[in-house]
Amino acid sequence: MSTTAPSIEALANQEYKWGFVTEIEADSIPKGLNEDVVRLISAKKNEPEFMLEWRLKSYRQWLKMEEPKWPNVHYPRIDYQDIIYYSAPVTKAGPKSLDEVDPELLRTYEKLGIPLKEQELLAGIAVDMVFDSVSVATTFKAKLGELGIIFCSFSEAVQEHPDLIKKYLGSVVPYSDNFFATLNSAVFSDGSFVYIPKGVRCPMELSTYFRINAKDSGQFERTLIIADEGAYVSYLEGCTAPMRDNNQLHAAVVELVALDNAQIKYSTVQNWYPGDKQGKGGIYNFVTKRGKCLGVNSKISWTQVETGSAITWKYPSVILMGDNSVGEFYSVALANNYQQADTGTKMIHIGKNTRSTIVSKGISAGHGQNTYRGMVKILKGAAGARNYSQCDSLLLGDQCGAHTFPYLEVKNTSAQVEHEASTSKIGEDQIFYCRQRGISAEDAVSMIVHGFCKEVFRELPMEFAVEAQKLLGISLEGSVG
């Protein structure tokens, strides 16, 4: 009987759609890392003295640190001398408008499905693109400027707003925080900077597309978002990378600061190259993301859909300092083929009546290994703090794995902490039931997975939710036969 679904292999054989390399002249420095390289990066960016000092301080700290071994992921040793720490597309003097941006570069973004022009005109999204290390174009700047909103590349912010950088850089993720964050602090080349002034509600979603292009270049970008009192901003980060045989390291740092009554919503759809079906190649996504609810009644919300990368290792966290502040973490992480994901969050309750919500959905397929690791810490002074955590795992097939490591540390007796967890499996019988009702096997898987993830998807801005759903569909095609 030819009643089997299109074979797993046929579908899994689908190529990574975004695996193209853009031929662009790049200004790269030789491989390797030493103090001179750190100075060179700083000099190339024409940075003020305080930045160089900060980088050097970080570099010297990094030399004393060791790569952490505790995550539930496995990869060959990274040779940090075999990485190019700075690669920038060559442009004359920096583009003033989109017309000045290398058309080849714009075509790259079009292939990714983000035609800048169209977005600029239709979608009303301001996009700051990070191509390898340098931010190439920022749209909508003028319009945002009228509201006093600063949305620019990190390098530009260092030049134009050094006081804000001085005040907030490293205030959430200190230079000595961890091995990868410290490395980033020494060598980061660019990233995005956002400042929303008092009482301003940012009228559009701010968006950055990261893309790693040059061979053997690690990408170390740095994002800093500050929402001043009563401000609101929703920020979207989307990531893709072309196909490369060698693993590429991505060690970013994101810092969020919310002052009194401010709100920051940070959404990520990460679709970096996951490696091939045998587990060769792919991105190492070792990222430190942390937000600080500094003010009273402030709120920071992380939503992430992680479908790409060979290894994902990140814990977007919230430090709840201000009384009544709120932290949220909504996550969908997918590990297919030989992908590994060790992700989760930390919620640190310091202020009174602080609240946090954690919803984590892990999907494992093929030989994928998915780990949820989360910490909820309630300090002595956090009277009336509450946390709700929910971790669900979905398994497709019998070669994959799901692991859950929740850590709870409660030092105040008036706190309430709830944790729920479940593991389920998409079974042959569920697929057949759907097919008997006329629904194809692929649609059935996608329907079940979507149902599993919908609590997270509904936290995403509309257009991102659609993209996330599609990505998940593509990443899972053929995982059930």
Binding site: S2, T3, C434, Q436, M447, I448
Partner: protein, 252 residues
């Protein structure tokens, strides 16, 4: 008109032959009951007709509406109008009944060259059908079969059948696990769906169900073959004499 023609059907599971030459013709408008002891192959027959690939067809032919049924994947059979009410309806957590059934109905409508129903039209349709099996509309928002009682699951199957309007309905032990009240509701739902252009195959172990869904024909399956066919009275006879005599007759 013959809607379904089964000729010399043989099927095995994991190398063990279960169906050993089934011949059966079902015309539109007819209700056929398939009875038999445990292990006689009743459910296997239902599953093979629905296209479950756990079972390997080793010989024979099945024509459905003149087409070679065995070469169609299960979803195509469903789209062509074959519906199976499962003996053990499957739970699909996270997917609402509403969403599930709308997706199913629209693939079937598409196949029939009809326009897809939008959410509003769909809601109107399902509310009307819910009444058939006396179910509360709130149930539409619950995940498919998740946390349903046995009776609710079976009623859900009949409700789905009412919405999808199949040409051939196969009810696989729909009476198992039902108390008498639930059985009456389910049977009543089924009876309302009996039409001149729809055929039904009712698989059951017990005669009880056939008091409520009165078949045109009754076939007794034993050791993978139909050993006796008759009208509704055959079911009553079996109820008194049991299956034992029939099985002996076959093996002898």
């Amino acid at each position: 008109m013959a809607l379904l023609t089964i000729k010399n059907l043989h099927a095995s599971v994991a190398g063990k032959e279960i169906l050993r030459g089934i011949d059966l013709t079902v015309n539109t408008g007819e209700v056929h009951a398939i009875m038999g002891p445990n292990g006689s192959g009743k459910s296997t027959l239902a599953q093979v007709l629905a296209g479950r690939d756990l079972y390997q067809v080793t010989d024979g032919q099945v024509l459905y509406d003149g087409k070679d049924l065995l070469n169609m994947p299960p979803e195509e059979r469903a789209q062509e109008g074959i519906f199976m009410a499962f003996q053990y309806p499957v739970e699909i957590p996270g997917v609402s009944n509403m969403y599930f059934l709308k997706a199913a109905l629209n693939t079937i409508r598409k196949r029939r060259g009809l326009e897809e129903l939008d959410a509003m039209d769909f809601l109107t349709l399902v509310k009307e059908k819910l009444a058939l099996v006396e179910m509360d509309p709130a149930f539409l928002n619950r995940p498919v079969n998740a946390g349903f009682s046995g009776g609710e699951k079976k009623r859900n199957e009949i409700f789905q059948m009412a919405v999808l309007e199949p040409r051939l309905a196969i009810l696989d032990e729909t009476d198992s696990g039902l108390d008498i009240d639930a059985l009456k509701i389910v049977a009543n739902g089924v009876n309302q769906l009996r039409t001149r252009d729809r055929a039904m195959i009712v698989v059951t172990h017990y005669q009880r169900l056939l008091n409520y869904i009165v078949p045109d024909y009754v076939h007794v399956l034993a050791n993978g073959r139909i050993v006796k066919s008759g009208d509704k009275n055959l079911a009553l006879e079996l109820d008194q004499s049991g299956y034992a005599g029939l099985e002996e007759a076959v093996t002898a």
